[in-house]
Symmetry: C2
Subunit: 88 residues, 2 copies
């Protein structure tokens, strides 16, 4: 079975985020008031082949921990949905 996966990698709370701070500082000059707490992260979308959703989740979490994130400074959230299969 094929699953569609979206991994959202964000800096952990307390880790400095200069990119987010720069966006936040620029917004009032562009006319956007009331925007705060800007944090910039990465999103990684892919498909994975697995027997079931549990196996897919285990693979993706291993992948996140070993390769996609730096667990010292980054958190990740994973969302998995079964891919729409074409009717054969």
């Amino acid at each position: 079975m094929t699953f569609e996966v979206l991994v959202n990698v964000s800096l952990r709370p307390g880790i400095a985020d200069p990119q987010g701070a720069t966006i936040e500082r620029a917004l009032p000059a562009l006319g956007f008031a009331g925007v705060a707490d800007v944090r910039v992260g990465k999103s990684i979308a892919f498909t994975v082949e697995a027997d079931d959703e549990g196996a897919a989740l285990a693979t993706v979490q291993d992948l996140c921990h070993r390769f996609l994130t730096n667990p010292v400074i980054e958190d990740s959230t994973v969302s998995i949905t079964p891919a729409a299969t074409p009717v054969s």
Copy 2:
């Protein structure tokens, strides 16, 4: 009212994604088979003050179009949730 916003910026279909291709090429050597269609994007989380969810969404979509994305090569998806308000 405060809303929590997560904007997911991804490259449009057909736009080359060398970062995603590099991840995809590296995975088999690390023991992850069956991962395909890797696309890397940005995620931007922030809070916005607005009267209601419709106004928040309008602000965020304007922000996405003018500042957070390059609409020529990037798509964005927006999710908005009311922030948990502390009981006063």
